[in-house]
């Protein structure tokens, strides 16, 4: 039985890979930026994660893919939708989470999770990428600002401007027009991030507001997006350390569940392990209860030899 599983989130703008050990600990993760669903990008992400973990693909017992490109990954044993994987990943990162807001490259989704951590209801943006990472990328180009700097710049906004959140392309037109009117970039960017928040809250409305709320996806790394969403939500918003890998983590966790279930006979619990040790010791003992120290044998009066083994006892694979 292999000792690691892999989850790959083959998204529209980035590919994320997470490798877990059989205890569910993250051993490695990586994010590759790429163009539209790119085979090279995802291979880079997987290769980097494997390198960090000191493993090869042959060491991976189960690979699960998610994201829009999930069916394109030959290495994947199974695939699940992003809804399922993001919910699972988010709850793993923030136990007890009941609402997951995930804003990715081209889609945004809000997932309500029940008390068992299962998907209860979800809503996604329809067709238009307004309010997603792509929206920010387009506007970053229009405003000649680095994507990484957008959030901090937007937080310095003073005047409340308004940008339509209905269409990513026409929002760009509005931005250009506001800049032409002399409004500073800070204020325009503030309006851009407010538009994302408004769009997101529309989705929350469809699913129902229930905390704790966790935000995942690449846009969760944008402090202004987080600020405005929190403001609209009027509820605390938890950000995990690595929000972008939630989908890949969820995929890996689902893969781990499947892998363990299929290999149940190779996995035993600590109690089962000890019970087996006891039995082995009893089988090997020359006198009952002796575990190599005859004086400590449970029944020292029964000094009857046990039939000697002619071959070594079989090794048992067990988790530590």
């Amino acid at each position: 039985m292999k000792k690691h599983v892999m989850g790959v989130d083959f998204g529209s703008t980035t590919a994320k890979t997470v490798i877990l050990d059989l205890q569910g600990n993250i051993v490695a993760h990586s994010v590759a930026h790429m163009g539209a669903v790119s085979g090279n990008g995802v291979k880079q992400s997987m290769a980097k994660a494997l390198e960090m973990a000191g493993l090869t693909q042959a060491d991976i017992g189960r690979t699960v893919s998610t994201g829009y490109g999930r069916r394109m990954l030959d290495e994947a044993d199974k695939s699940y939708t992003e809804i399922t994987c993001h919910a699972r990943g988010a709850v793993a990162m923030v136990p007890g989470a009941r609402l997951v807001i995930d804003i990715g490259g081209q889609d945004s989704k809000v997932i309500s999770v029940d008390s068992n951590g299962l998907v209860s209801q979800f809503a996604m943006n329809d067709r238009c990428a307004a309010g997603t990472g792509k929206f920010l990328e387009v506007l970053a180009r229009a405003m000649e600002i680095d994507l990484e700097d957008m959030g901090d710049t937007a937080l310095r906004a003073k005047e409340k401007l308004k940008i339509s959140s209905m269409c990513a392309t026409f929002a760009e037109t509005e931005v250009i027009s506001l800049l032409a009117e002399g409004h500073p970039k800070t204020d325009v960017l503030g309006a851009v991030h407010k538009a994302i928040a408004t769009r997101t809250l529309g989705l929350v409305g469809r699913v129902g507001k229930k905390g704790p709320v966790v935000m995942t996806g690449g846009v969760a790394k944008n402090p202004a997006a987080v600020h405005y969403i929190k403001e609209e939500l009027q509820m605390p918003l938890t950000l995990p350390d690595n929000p972008q890998i939630a989908g890949a983590l969820g995929a890996a966790l689902i893969g781990l569940d499947d892998y363990k279930a299929e290999n149940k006979r190779l996995l035993i619990s600590g109690d089962e392990d000890m019970a087996h040790e006891e039995q082995m010791a009893a089988d090997k003992a020359c006198i009952p209860g002796c575990r190599g120290v005859p004086e400590l044998a449970t029944n020292p009066h029964e000094k009857q030899p046990v039939k000697a083994r002619t071959s070594p006892a079989p090794e048992v694979a067990h988790s530590h």
């Binding site: 699940y80 399922t84 299962l118 329809d126």
Partner: protein
């Protein structure tokens, strides 16, 4: 568990009802009759929305239902030309695509038969083939687009076509005594529409120059009543597991019950019922392996009927019922007294699934979900049919809260394929099915 199919081309197809092939033949025969109408000296009436065709059939007037023609073009993937022609005329893409397609046909017709005559078109191009109307009757519940569509059609033909309007009021259902098919509002509205239908008959008499043949209408409505009962009985049998027929089978059966010549319709549904009964007896389902039962809310993507049927079959999902099929098309035959059918007809027009306020509408939908024991709901938000789409967030919310079932929504359209995005449907429905499966596993653990 893996809902997503590794290969999108995995061979698992819908087990369609064999008898629905007869519907195809009946539809073809009907349209052939329409295309011959002028040569046979018949008057032609164009109408949209409510099924007033029995009134016309009784008077030997050739009837042309706008949605039916648009749906037929879409089902044959021949809607593109008509839609382009309509856009060139100025009818934008956000407009009801039924209307846009049909208006495109009207415009094409005028170009060829009126001014701007063009070279004789290809006989296989159905865009231009509709005979121009001698009259227009507008009887459209809820949807204001429908009424304006008829007005625009009248303008395309130079405002020379007499047009009669039947006003079908919205059922508010807000009074204390209100409910489905009951209450003072219901009775008064029924009377209001009934009166207008009698006026409509006078309009027909003026057009034909003959007394209206009431006996013929009574006979036709007796058959429609019986056909409807047979259809409902067959749909009811889909409470069986596995469901013997699917929503998509009932979609194909809309034309016979809604707008085809009445002779033959009763026999069609007798055949359908017999086949469904046999399937129940044999334990034969509408999908090869029924694991999930779904309710379909929304109007149909006519470009995609067969394609969607197969897609859900690949997911092992039986779409067992839907608002469009189960809450429309003479769905209350008990209201019809064949000897005095007009009031019952008026009432069936009023209970178009878009014409109720949300409480009654949603209550009916939840009832269907319970009856058919659905695991989830797929919601088709038709881009250009706001009438159908308006209450869908509330329907989804109620399904989740009252029934505890997940829903997934996808955008598409009635006849404009460009609004439909396959991967968005895939990811949403697959996510819903994964959620259902996870719950089952958790419950079993």
């Amino acid at each position: 568990m893996n809902i997503a199919v590794k290969s999108p081309f995995e061979e698992k197809k819908a087990n369609k009802l064999q008898s629905t092939r007869i519907a195809g033949k009946l539809v073809n025969d009907y349209w052939e009759m329409v295309w011959r109408a002028k040569d046979e000296g018949k008057l032609v009436c164009w109408y949209e929305g409510s099924a007033i065709n029995p009134f016309l059939e009784a008077a030997d007037i050739c009837w042309v239902h706008g949605e039916a023609y648009s749906a037929m073009l879409a089902a044959r993937h021949q809607e593109g030309t008509a839609q382009r022609v309509a856009e060139e005329r100025g009818y934008m893409r956000e407009l009801c695509s039924y209307a846009r397609t049909h208006l495109g046909c009207a415009v094409s017709n005028q170009r060829l038969r009126g001014d701007n005559a063009a070279a004789a078109p290809d006989e296989d191009d159905l865009t231009w083939k509709l005979p121009p109307p001698d009259m227009i009757i507008s009887a459209y519940a809820y949807c204001s687009t429908g009424q304006q569509w008829d007005e625009m059609t009248s303008r395309v033909f130079g405002k020379k076509i007499p047009i009669f309007n039947v006003s079908l009021p919205w059922i508010w259902g807000a009074k204390p005594d209100a409910g489905y098919l009951r209450g003072q509002e219901w009775e008064e509205t029924s009377t209001y529409v009934e009166r207008q239908l009698y006026d409509m008959v006078k309009f027909i008499e003026e057009r034909t120059g003959k007394p209206y043949p009431w006996d013929r209408l009574h006979a036709l409505m007796a058959d429609i009543k019986r056909a409807s009962e047979l259809r409902l009985e067959a749909m009811e049998l889909c409470t069986a597991q596995p469901a013997p027929a699917s929503f998509f089978d009932w979609v194909v059966s809309i034309a016979p019950i809604n707008n085809l010549p009445v002779p033959g319709v009763k026999q069609y549904f007798e055949t359908v019922l017999a086949e469904v009964r046999q399937r129940v007896k044999d334990g034969e389902g509408a999908v090869p392996e029924e694991k999930y039962r779904l309710f379909f809310d929304g109007i149909m993507n006519w470009n995609k009927v067969g394609w969607l049927a197969n897609k859900f079959a690949r997911w092992d999902a039986a779409v067992v019922a839907g608002r469009y099929t189960h809450m429309a098309f003479w769905q209350e035959p008990g209201l019809i007294d064949p000897e005095k059918p007009v009031r019952g007809m008026a009432q069936n027009y009023l209970i178009c699934p878009n014409n109720h306020a949300a409480p009654i509408l949603i209550d009916l939908i939840m009832g269907l979900c319970r009856k058919f024991k659905v695991d989830g709901m797929v919601i088709h938000a038709s881009r250009t049919c706001r009438a159908f789409t308006n209450p869908q967030f509330m329907i989804a919310d109620t399904a989740h809260k009252q029934l505890g079932i997940p829903t997934s929504m996808f955008e598409g359209d009635v006849t404009d394929e460009s609004f439909y995005k396959d991967e968005l449907l895939n990811s949403r429905v697959e996510a819903m099915l994964e959620a259902i499966e996870h719950r089952r596993m958790a419950a079993a653990a």
